[in-house]
């Protein structure tokens, strides 16, 4: 592959960011590789396999935005190249960079350099770009985090400033307090200048490169005599630069990571069965990626193909091909209360439905990228994006048979995860390489490999029987959910519980009979994906409720309100929820827009009978449980630094969602200083305590809780000592900037640095531990396995559909969420905007077809053109236990968007869509299969059509 570019090297000179440079390479080498390699400028990012499919690598060539991954070095000879590193001028940030930081257009930051350069080219052409012009300029730059809204807004702001008609600081956002005001992200500055060092940007002297030999077959047995054909092993091992070829025999400890995935080996032994395309077979470690690649091409494993199946029906049929588990089942979960059959029989209405979803890929713009090395204390250290470094440390320790304190895991700036980077496999593989070579080892997946081998969102089939009275009170629900976990467990054992929980929503159900199971197929392994198993059920539930409302002739909003639980009610789970509940408030918040959308769509449709374009409006709600299982005691540390600033040590990795900022805000608020006075040391197992497992939505509530506790505790220590120094009452003291001063007129004070010095003299530790502990609120005896902490939200979608082609355009959306308290409103909005678009992708375009999907060229992520006009409504019903009233948000926001869109499409075409993604083809099929009276489509267009 890489070898195909084999011209002899030439010296090529060009202007790079204003300076003359000479690169000495094969002229067909992509400029991207030259910039990041030979020239050491890592600000330009790579998101796909040099295919031109992502835009992350965009640079300006003579002022025009081009894909540097498709631009051969030879092309730039004598020309001018501008990368993100050259954007800022001598007097500081380019207005675009400043605007991106200010409006919150930077989340993980991986798309940011490319976005900035595409925008720069646009603003060079015009300083008065219209919104469609901005969108067109950015349509080739994928962003998985932001939903594009804030990026477009940033370009508008920068354009206005360059024209001279906008203020220079976006003062509207800056609140008086650290929390509640939209603080600028602490790490955005590095991301807009290209300085942020993501895992793939790090190099170490003597670094080796690791590549993985993977199975091309969906189901196969490895030869029982050896993992690799001995002749190929010998041949590959002798290639220049090849250092080690590792197989199962080289895993010194336990060959697996059972707590995460009970049946998945690190590397398969001879005779093992490989259950998915992309299952790893061996690791090659070489001096260069090309050398590792060459070895991969030679290595051969003897694989005996086995019959395979990707779908639920085939694996669940009698006599089905055995893949794993008993009858191909991994785990089940049941939930029963009330007498369901009796209530359903007595109900006025009983509705049945069946909904299906597809494998989804996280497609974070940064692929899996890790760097392993031995740190200064000889610990095996792995730097890589993940959700819980302590867990990764544990998995590595088990596989290497080393004590955990000889392993270190550090989370660097991460280019998005959405759950995908929770997979321990790449961490273990990287550590294994370091273990065997004692040298630095880099492992970076190709995009193709990431599609094949990284975990996916589980496809579900959800079947409902749902009862209601004629006036719209829900009477009972029977639900059966099959979750396709692919070839391996990958947390699929916990999926049924989450699937079932989400299938009931925040509604009153007098009787429930639910069962969910996870089922093995030969599809890609399942795993965490934003919402961990809840989005699929919520889609089915909220669409079924819409069907029910239609059948009952009720307004879907009223149906939901009529059945919404309050805090005191018995929930679907069979017990009350453990937090304040803002569902009613959320529904009421969208009502005005809902009525407006409905009326506009009605008028539009009415005035165009027979027109091929129809409009529809959809509504969907959700609840999302962000409570934890296991320990509910979370630890964080606070330290008074030598110069008196506050250091917070916690483990709430920031993979783009902004936890670094939120933690610093909470600490600043509790300690009583400005946020600039707080330093957050996050997610490095050698430096911070274990803060429990993080799903994105848990960090603010749980780790934030511990950060607040510990900051408050340190504050009172500081004030106590200061009171002694100043000889006054601690209650009379306040912290102002870097000093503790006595309230009142005399302005006596002592600096925080001096207080720290006094700590040392007194032998008082500068570092204290603090805990967020819900044990008293939820005593162990009555605590369910997962704390019943839930958040709610509701979305509206206004769509138009071409009845003759099935094309759908999402025109407008409204997203209302109960966030408890918006610690950083700008960030909360950004999270929601990104989640809405991800839900839109799931609704309309995204689907991994095992064995078919190859990457970003055929897995369709929403682009800037897909973005609807979006209004976010933050509803604040303060939580009872969370710090400052916060609740979890990041994952939940994706849930209602998919069903809202599908409900809107179904209403527009007059037929229920029950399989997603609703591609044009599926939509057209639904329209064509619909019985005539059901569809509102009046047949082929007639001559009298139009009439506008």
């Amino acid at each position: 592959m890489l070898d195909a570019l084999h011209f002899s090297a030439m010296a090529i000179s060009f202007t790079l960011n204003g300076s003359q440079v000479i690169a000495q390479s094969d002229p067909a080498t992509p400029l991207l590789d030259v910039l990041r390699g030979e020239l050491g400028l890592t600000g330009t990012k790579q998101g796909c396999d040099h295919e031109g499919e992502c835009g992350a690598c965009t640079v300006l060539l003579d002022g025009h935005p081009v894909r540097s991954c498709l631009t051969p070095l030879g092309k730039v000879a004598g020309r001018e190249v501008l990368t993100v590193e050259g954007l800022a001028g001598p007097d500081g940030l380019h207005p675009l960079q400043a605007a991106f930081v200010e409006v919150g257009a930077v989340q993980c930051g991986y798309c940011t350099p490319g976005m900035l350069l595409s925008a720069k080219a646009l603003l060079h052409r015009t300083l008065c770009p219209s919104r469609p012009e901005i969108i067109a300029a950015l349509e080739g730059n994928l962003c998985r985090c932001t939903g594009y809204a804030k990026i477009v807004q940033a370009v508008e702001l920068a354009a206005a400033r360059l024209r001279g008609d906008a203020p220079h600081l976006n003062a509207a956002h800056a609140g008086p307090r650290p929390i509640g005001g939209s603080a600028l992200r602490s790490d955005s500055l590095d991301k807009v200048t290209g300085k942020a060092r993501y895992a793939e940007d790090l190099t170490l002297p003597g670094m080796l490169h690791s590549r993985v030999l993977r199975s091309p077959l969906p189901h196969a047995r490895l030869s029982s005599s050896s993992v690799l054909r001995p002749s190929s092993l010998a041949e590959a091992g002798e290639l220049p630069g090849v250092i080690r070829i590792l197989t199962a025999a080289d895993v010194p400890g336990s060959n697996g990571f059972a707590y995460y995935s009970q049946d998945e080996p690190v590397l398969p032994p001879a005779g093992a069965t490989l259950r998915t395309i992309g299952a790893p077979i061996a690791l090659v470690i070489a001096e260069s990626p090309e050398q590792a690649e060459r070895a991969l091409a030679i290595l051969q494993a003897d694989l005996e193909p086995l019959p395979h199946a990707f779908d639920l029906d085939t694996v669940l049929a009698d006599g089905a091909v055995p893949i794993a588990g008993e009858h191909n089942q991994l785990a089940t979960w049941d939930l029963q209360h009330g007498d369901l059959e009796a209530t359903l029989t007595a109900s006025d209405h009983c509705l049945e439905s069946c909904y299906e979803t597809a494998f989804l890929e996280h497609a974070a713009l940064e692929r899996e990228a890790l760097l392993g090395y031995l740190d200064e204390e000889d610990r095996i250290t792995v730097i890589g994006g993940c959700h819980e470094p302590n867990f990764q440390r544990g998995y590595i320790a088990d596989a290497l048979a080393l004590p955990p304190d000889q392993i270190r895991v550090i989370v660097p700036p991460t280019g998005g995860s959405f759950g995908g980077k929770q997979d321990p496999w790449p961490f273990i593989a990287t550590a294994l390489g370091v273990f065997h070579t004692r040298r630095p080892v880099r492992l970076v997946y190709t995009r193709r490999e990431s599609f094949d081998a990284s975990p996916k969102r589980h496809p579900y089939r959800v079947r409902y029987r749902m009862g209601a009275t004629a006036d719209g009170r829900l009477t009972g629900v029977h639900v059966r959910i099959d979750c396709n976990t692919g070839g391996y467990d990958g947390h699929g054992q916990y999926i049924p519980n989450f699937a079932l929980t989400a299938s009931g929503g925040p509604y009153r159900w007098p009787a429930v009979d639910g069962r969910a199971r996870s089922v093995y197929t030969n599809g890609p392994k399942g795993g965490q994906f934003r919402g961990f198993g809840t989005g699929q059920s919520n889609f089915a539930l909220e669409c079924t409720l819409d069907e029910l409302a239609q059948e009952l002739g009720l307004d879907p909003l009223d149906l939901r309100l009529r059945n919404a639980i309050t805090e005191k009610d018995w929930s679907f789970l069979g017990h009350p929820v453990g937090e304040s509940l803002g569902y009613r408030e959320v529904l009421e918040a969208v009502r005005p827009q809902y009525q407006r959308f409905l009326e506009e769509a009605r008028q539009w449709n009415q005035s165009r009978v027979g027109h091929p374009l129809r409009r529809g409006v959809g509504l969907a709600g959700m609840w999302y449980r962000f409570g934890k299982s296991g320990s509910v005691r979370i630890e964080a540390h606070a330290e008074l630094a030598q110069d008196g600033h506050l250091i917070i040590c916690c483990s709430a990795p920031d993979y783009g969602q902004g936890t670094n900022t939120v933690m610093s805000q909470m600490a600043a608020e509790a300690f009583g200083v400005d946020r600039e006075w707080v330093e957050v040391v996050n997610a490095d197992t050698a430096l911070v305590p274990y803060s429990g497992i993080q799903g994105a939505s848990r960090a603010t509530y749980f780790v934030g809780g511990a950060v607040r506790e510990v900051s408050t505790a340190l504050r009172s220590e500081v004030l106590g000592t200061a009171a002694e120094l100043l000889d006054c009452d601690p209650d009379s003291l306040v912290i102002e900037r870097d000093r503790v001063i006595a309230a009142g007129a005399d302005c006596r004070g002592v600096s925080l640095a001096e207080v720290g010095g006094e700590f040392d003299r007194m032998g008082k530790p500068r570092r204290v531990a603090g805990f967020f502990d819900l044990a008293s609120a939820f005593p162990a005896e009555i605590r369910p396995e997962y704390l019943p902490l839930v958040v709610t939200g509701a979305h509206l979608a206004d769509v138009s559909v071409r009845l003759d082609t099935g094309e759908v355009k999402v025109r407008r959306m409204v997203a209302a969420h109960d966030v408890g308290r918006a610690v950083n409103p700008l960030d909360a909005e950004g999270q929601i905007e990104g989640a809405v678009l991800m839900g839109l992708g799931a609704a309309l375009m995204e689907e991994v077809l095992p064995g078919q999907t190859t990457g970003l060229s055929d897995y369709y992520l929403p682009t800037a053109q897909s973005m609807p006009e979006l209004q976010v409504i933050l509803v604040e019903v303060p939580s009872r236990h969370g710090p400052y009233g916060v609740k979890g948000l990041g994952e939940a926001a994706m849930l209602p968007s998919t069903p809202a869109i599908i409900n809107a499409v179904s209403r527009a075409i007059g037929v229920r869509l029950r399989t997603i993604p609703a591609t044009p083809e599926r939509v057209l099929q639904a329209i064509q299969l619909a019985p005539a009276q059901q569809g509102c489509y009046a047949g082929p267009r007639t001559r009298n059509a139009g009439g506008s």
Partner: protein, 346 residues
């Protein structure tokens, strides 16, 4: 000789190719070639970059022709004001190719030589009855673009020897046409899995030449939502006009970029009406033989949709032929957004 050269003239480029005796290949934008090199699909020993030859990146309108250098990028095509006004389908097709960062490099010539059955540049060139000028050491000659395609991904042009230098499109309103009361309209319609950066499920370009056209009229509110004019359902007012000639190009419905010739002959001499357009669409459907693509759409879907996109495009072209005066305003709006969006209006 260096493996990568960037000649300044066409003659130099041809000479360089000749001196490599089939081992060197033309590179224009490289958006197709670089991925092909990585995959090992093409293995030249040297590359001759034609993108810096001034005459190959030149756009010119003579009285009767639009002449475009083959190394002109789609970005340049879509931003060219006169093209947007007078050959709107070309501007629309250009802005449908990939996305901005692709259009700045990808050239019209490269798109034709790459010869994919649904290449946006090839489909629009067919409908516009474009001609290509192919140069080789012995000389150069014009030939119809339609004669360039051999099969999927196969062109009759040999990029190790020949260079496609220019593409020319007969221009709509020549003085003679105007004297004869003829009006032209071109239009573009594309269906895809998303709104940008995606290969088409189907694309379609059409050109209509009307005779005895009635006076242009002011259409009711052309500025639809999202800047996309609504061109559907507004055609019945044109009924007095007659179609002199029509072209319809479709992709991917055959191994090569395809002209629906039966539908075209059917249209000749017909009045403008939605029924006529729909019938043309059905004939085009019968002529088409699309394949199923797992990642894009099935044969059945493609067949089901062909009549609708053909009649959409014809309706839009007819509308433009009649309201040429007004059309560029809305088109400017439309091009600043995406042309890939469905037509929609109030």
């Amino acid at each position: 000789m260096p493996a990568y050269t960037t000649p300044a003239t066409l003659d130099d480029a041809l000479a360089l190719l000749a001196s490599h005796k089939g081992q060197a290949m033309v590179i224009a934008g490289g958006t197709d070639l670089i991925p092909d090199l990585r995959r090992g699909v093409k293995c030249p020993q040297a590359l001759v970059d034609i993108s810096r030859i001034p005459e190959l990146a030149h756009i010119e309108m003579t009285g009767e022709w639009l002449v475009v250098g083959a190394a002109t990028t789609f970005a340049a095509l879509k931003e060219h004001l006169a093209i947007r006004q007078r050959v709107p389908a070309l501007a629309e097709a250009a802005s449908a190719v990939g996305a901005m960062g692709i259009q700045t490099a990808a050239t019209w010539g490269g798109n034709l030589v790459q010869a994919m059955p649904a290449a946006d540049g090839a489909i629009v060139a067919l409908a516009l009855e474009a001609e290509a000028r192919v140069a080789e050491p012995g000389g150069a000659a014009w030939r119809p673009v339609a004669s360039l395609f051999r099969g999927p991904g196969q062109s009759v042009i040999d990029p190790t020897r020949q260079i496609l230098t220019h593409i020319r499109v007969p221009l709509p309103t020549s003085p003679l046409d105007r004297a004869q009361g003829k009006r032209w309209g071109s239009a573009w319609r594309r269906v895809g899995r998303r709104d940008s950066l995606v290969l088409p499920i189907l694309n379609c370009a059409v050109k209509l030449v009307l005779e005895n056209a009635s006076m242009p009229y002011d259409p009711p509110n052309l500025g639809g939502q999202g800047g996309v004019p609504n061109l559907v359902g507004q055609v019945e007012v044109m009924a007095e006009d007659l179609i002199e000639r029509a072209t319809i190009a479709l992709g991917p419905v055959a191994p090569r970029p395809f002209r629906a010739q039966e539908a075209e002959s059917f249209l000749a001499g017909k009045p403008l009406s939605i029924e006529v357009f729909e019938e043309a669409g059905r004939i085009a459907q019968r002529e088409s033989n699309p394949r199923s693509s797992v990642m894009r759409a099935s044969r059945e879907y493609r067949l089901a949709v062909i009549p609708h996109i053909v009649s959409d495009a014809l309706a839009a072209a007819a509308h433009r032929a009649q309201v040429g005066r007004r059309i560029h305003e809305s088109l400017n709006q439309r091009l600043s957004g995406s042309v890939n969006q469905q037509s929609e209006g109030d």
